[in-house]
Amino acid sequence: MSQPVRSLGRASAPAGARPGRPPQPPADDATALRRRAQSRRGRREALFGYAMVASALVVVVVFTVAPIVASFVLALFRWDGISSPQFVGLDNFDALLGDNAVTHSLLVTSGLAVMIVFLQVALGLGLALMVAQRASKIVRNLFRAAFFLPMLASAASISIVMAYVFNDQFGVINYYLGLLHLPEVSWLSSTGGATATIVLVAVWQQLGFTFILFVAALGSLPGDVLEAAQIDGASSARLFWRIKLPLISPTVLFASTVGLINTMQLFDQPYVMTKGGPGDSTYTTVLLVYQTAFQNLQFGYASAISVLLFAVLLVITAVQFTTSRKWVFYS
């Protein structure tokens, strides 16, 4: 935790240069004995190490690593999960490239994801800036608890609540819009309304996450640098754009990357609130994977779609990291 912020992409530290084995000295009896004792001790330590990592490793290999490989293999088959699988080569991929439902769902998902992440990062940062230096500790904790509260609920049950709040006829929101003499919005029954509802609900629920990240990042800014700039008469806008934002840019990158990866997997909210509708305006890719695999029992084709989604995620992350060299500042 105390270590400096580094690029989060290089998750596995570059394997440090392993020191080469020192040149063997001529073995007399004493060193030979010592070495044997050492290697026995080393072997026992190694055995202990393997035993300790075994459980976590088995779970990860069986339920994550193997399934990733299996997804790619399954994507080459046509299979309903019951009869014997039929090898079809790249036919599934060929088919999904011409499948409007797939391309449409990817467009819907990325559109939603971009809107959600942008709002989440902008609002989280804005609120964190306001709370950062001004409020006392008690007030700050109070706001933190308030913004964090929605994150404690499940997206599924929150969607139940929000489906009522945004209800077209008897929802609270339309009631207050009416009071303000504003036109009522058909939140869940129009294309734009449903999109807006999904975005608002997701931003509302995840705001606490970016808020906490930015409060922590702003709290760790070097005070002397900020003070020096202030004494030099920098305006607060200048202070933000020239000093604070560059210093917290790694957090911006982290928040937007994690946010994009999460929102590209959007499922609970559209499943509960809109079922992908109206029409297919909120039909996300994961909804499509779910329906293709577990309702239509097309396991091979569904795997191909999920492999495509995985590839899209990898591309997004790669693009974010290559372009980030231009705007992320590491001290």
Binding site: R6, V58, V59, A70, A153, W204
Partner: protein, 291 residues
């Protein structure tokens, strides 16, 4: 406020900073308060509406403070649906996942940080590489493995695939890396076994990151919807989120106050744990960003 400001010496070269900043302070406090109210409002509405009579729960204006709270809605939700069963299922599933994660993550995190064995870095690399793999990429094969193991429609189907994970291992390893090796070495000289060194010396020191891991694991799996939806079929095995969504579907729009009572009940454990362990929530989220 102006009175206080008026007494201050005005003859400084700089513009009256204090005043400007107090206006800014007031403005940002206002914005923050409005935002906080908007964020909390839907949950307050859910709580208030869960206390209205089912027949009038849709009536406008919304009642923010219930004048005649109908507590019987909370009884009704237990009568109408097996909410106790859902609740216990959630407790069992989430509890097993948390315990499993704590055990495997602490052991593997310790070994990756403190124990010398061939392939240490490579194996850790494999685990770390899975950190960002989305669940949808693996869900179909995982479903098939679960079916092959004969665990479909069982609570174990939810537990088994996630009792060990990349995030926990990573978090615990980072913690143990900062621990001094000398303690263990001294105990080894005194004749303690490798396991004793871990169990008696280092593991008890790791209570704080373990608590962090526990609260984060709890909130992630207590609220999970996607996997229960896929793995479970019989109502008596449903966890709370799945049970509530099903309940909402079967009850129609007639009794939303009862559905909302269920939502509030599902939220209570998370809120209690958050209040008890706020610091660990925040630390865990921040720790995640310092890779």
């Amino acid at each position: 406020m102006t009175a206080i400001l008026g007494k201050q010496p005005v003859a400084t070269a700089r513009p009256p900073r204090r005043r400007r900043s107090s206006i800014g302070r007031l403005l940002s406090l206002t914005v923050l308060t409005v935002a906080a109210v908007l964020v909390v409002a839907p949950l307050v509405w859910a709580l208030a509406t869960s206390l209205r009579t089912p027949a009038t729960s849709f009536d406008q204006p919304p009642q923010w403070i219930p004048t005649h709270p109908i507590w019987s809605n909370y009884q009704a939700v237990f009568d109408k649906v097996p909410l106790t069963t859902f609740f216990l299922n959630s407790v069992v599933v989430t509890g097993l996942i948390v315990v499993g994660q704590l055990l495997t993550s602490t052991m593997s995190g310790y070994a990756f940080a403190m124990v010398r064995f061939r392939g240490n870095k490579a194996l850790f690399g494999i685990i770390l590489a899975t950190l960002m793999v989305p669940i949808q990429t693996t869900i179909i094969p995982v479903f098939l493995i679960i079916r092959y193991l004969g665990l479909t429609d069982s609570r174990m189907a939810l537990v088994l695939p996630v009792v060990g994970g990349a995030f926990g291992t990573f978090l615990m390893r980072q913690y143990f890396l900062q621990m001094p090796r000398e303690l263990g070495e001294a105990a080894r000289v005194d004749g303690a076994s490798h396991f004793q060194v871990f169990a008696r010396i280092y593991a008890p020191m790791a209570r704080a990151p373990m608590a962090t891991l526990a609260v984060l694991t709890f909130s992630a799996y207590w609220n999970e919807f996607f996997r229960p939806l896929i793995f479970l079929q019989s109502t008596d095995k449903f966890t709370l989120p799945l049970g509530l969504v099903t309940l909402q579907g079967t009850m129609g729009t007639g009794s939303i106050s009862i559905v909302l009572a269920g939502v509030i009940i599902a939220l209570i454990p998370s809120v209690l744990i958050f209040l008890a362990a706020q610091r660990h929530f925040v630390e865990g989220i921040v720790a995640g960003s310092f890779r």
